[in-house]
Point group: C2
Chain length 208, copies 2
């Protein structure tokens, strides 16, 4: 299959969230045009995005809401269960571990790690904090799919090295630094400072 752009995947997520709302309202079909209006894009964009994966609509009618939802869930790999470990037993990690949407979408947090001696061995959100040095060994048994990296900037490169060595292929990164990983590891970074600076830029350069 052709390489899919990250922007496309983000839009698919967005479409799915709309469809779930619409499904709850009981509507049976939706056109690319309505979907586009909800997502702030164009109907051609919607159709193009979907056409990368097949043809799911009926000409003259639109898309069946439950059918398209199901297809999108399949495309996005939801419905499977993903084993997640959280690295960094701090506030962000805790917020995520408690976040309902996490479990709802099949992301199951099965372990938590830290490098801080003071935290290791403590109970944390119904798990026991383990040392990062054990990650590789644990991963051989548990087979984690995703690592959430929520460590301070300084310790993050070392932590990420362990994650990669443990064979984990997907990282959700909250550390405010750029991760360097092999090409077969996917990283999504959530960086508040960067978002704020984006807003600051927009405010500073209005009307240019």
């Amino acid at each position: 299959m052709k390489r899919i752009a990250e922007s496309t995947v983000r839009r698919l997520s967005l479409y799915l969230s709309f469809l779930e709302g619409i499904e709850r309202q009981g509507l049976k079909t939706i056109s690319s045009d309505e979907l586009a209006r909800l997502g702030g894009t164009t109907s051609a964009q919607v159709r193009k995005d979907l056409s990368l994966f097949g043809s799911f609509g009926k000409r003259g009618l639109g898309y069946s809401v439950p059918e398209l939802s199901e297809k999108l869930r399949e495309i996005l790999g939801l419905g499977k269960q993903w084993k997640v470990c959280i690295i960094g037993a701090g506030k962000i990690g805790a917020a995520l571990a408690r976040y309902r949407g996490f479990a709802e979408r099949g992301f199951i947090v099965t372990a938590v790690y830290d490098i801080d001696e003071a935290k290791i061995g403590k109970r944390w959100e119904s798990l026991t904090v383990r040392p990062v040095s054990e990650l590789e060994k644990d991963a051989a048994k548990q087979d984690f799919d995703i690592a959430v990296v929520a460590t301070p900037a300084e310790s993050t490169p070392a932590v990420v090295k362990q994650v990669v060595r443990a064979g984990i292929k997907a990282i959700l990164n909250f550390a405010p630094i750029q991760l360097s990983v092999p090409a077969d590891v996917t990283v999504r970074t959530v960086n508040m400072a960067m978002e704020l600076e984006g807003l600051s830029f927009a405010l500073s350069n209005r009307g240019d």
Copy 2:
């Protein structure tokens, strides 16, 4: 000035964070090539990004680290102080209000709002929770620059309408929905579900 792509602004933020690290290490100059390596991009990209705003380097030498940092801070509008209000006195809001990087970069939280009667009037992170219905009136006096929207999906559209009416031109959105705002309002959305789904997609479609 020409329209600047969001991806460019994100990279500028990234470059700045590297420069700050390098400045602490005491290095005086850096080449586009080194910056590119740190940021996982190409030297041509770095030079192109910077050239949109002027020419800051010296041929044969590279960029002066303190000088380029300063320029980037200027471009990104840091150094100014931005007045921020948080809407939604929940966990995300609290985490942000306490987040040090927030204040360090000049984002000052001066008020918090909610629609939940039970929360209104309560103390919260050294502020008192006010009703969203008062936002427009308050904004006339306080002149907020940025609104952080951290409300449940259902109540978000109404909240955003108030924010827009209050004349606030930048929104950091944590609600898992698409905001509809006039063109002169800038929105950055942080949506965990979308990031997770991106990872899920990558894991499901490896090797295609």
